[in-house]
Amino acid sequence: MEAVTFFIAAGVALAGACGVVLFKNPVHAALSLVGTLFGVAIHFINLEAYFLAAVQVIVYAGAIVILFLFVIMLLGVDRAESIRTEPIIGQRHLALLALVALLTFGVLIGVASNGEVTGVPPQEATYSPLEGGLSIDEAIKDSTGKTIAPKENIREVGRSLFSTRYVFALEITALLLTIAVIGAVVLTRRPKGEPEPLPEDDPPSIIRSADNETDLHSATNEDNGSVVDMEANESGKNSSEELGVSSE
């Protein structure tokens, strides 16, 4: 039964992962990411990590993917990206090579070790709780002596999280989240008293800079001018906007 669950969930997860890479529309990619996350959550349940399965669904599928979709809709970038154009010459071949090498490495590690993946026989790992850390075996002994039920898993995760072994990392995590919230607010804040910058819709009269290096870089993107030209044009046209942003 575990095998059937594993293969079904693995199929869902891999199909979703392929969908993330191959779908041209970012909205479709985000939705197939949900499939991958659900598949991984099923694997978590299969591995008896019940709390993390719930957290995976709530945090990833409920918060992060929604954030992705929100940003996609906010920016209106849900137009299809042509997957055929290769921005950097030879990048596809290098990516394919790296992909094959990585896959071979991972599967070799999984298969060639012949069952002894961790080097320790299962359920014989003597884990010494240094400062209050709990192993799963101890959790069985600490509770009523039965096997771990789902609520026991949640209880033991909570107890380990607030034990002296992990509580400092937990506090640092809280600090990290605070910094992330402040950073997000600062980054997306629009400066006061300044109109919204106009979208650059590729003006035909781009003033070419005299440098030679602008022409070197303009070879890659042919449709909307080179980056340096856009920079020069923008800084020449509305320099007050540049000042306003940089002084922020």
Partner: protein, 105 residues
């Protein structure tokens, strides 16, 4: 036949390697910053799967706790990354990641 198969950690590690590889390949291939962030999430999920698989094999709860911390870091990373994407896209709506190169050395 498939019912009696016992799923060891090597199956989970192979699946984790596959997921990580797909994520890394997508990160190298796609040029949309949002899709690139999704591929980073794929790689983080593969690492989480390996963490929990090892944690179960070793009989240790530390694998699950590491996954919890990875989740928090991934959430913070997504928040900051999407804020940067919004800030960049607001100024130049057609930008792909190759065009944001002002800080090029």
């Amino acid at each position: 036949m498939i019912l009696g198969l016992s799923i060891g950690p090597e199956y989970y590690l192979a699946l984790s390697a596959l997921l990580f590889t797909i994520g890394a390949g997508g990160l190298l291939i796609r040029r949309n910053p949002l899709v690139m962030f999704m591929c980073i999430e794929l790689m983080l999920n593969a690492a989480n799967l390996a963490f929990i698989s090892f944690g179960k094999e070793m009989g240790d709860l530390g694998g699950q706790l590491s996954v919890l911390f990875v989740l928090v870091v991934a959430a913070a990373e997504v928040v900051i990354g999407l804020a940067i994407v919004v800030a960049v896209m607001r100024r130049r709506p057609k930008a792909s990641v190759d065009e944001v190169s002002v800080l090029r050395g």
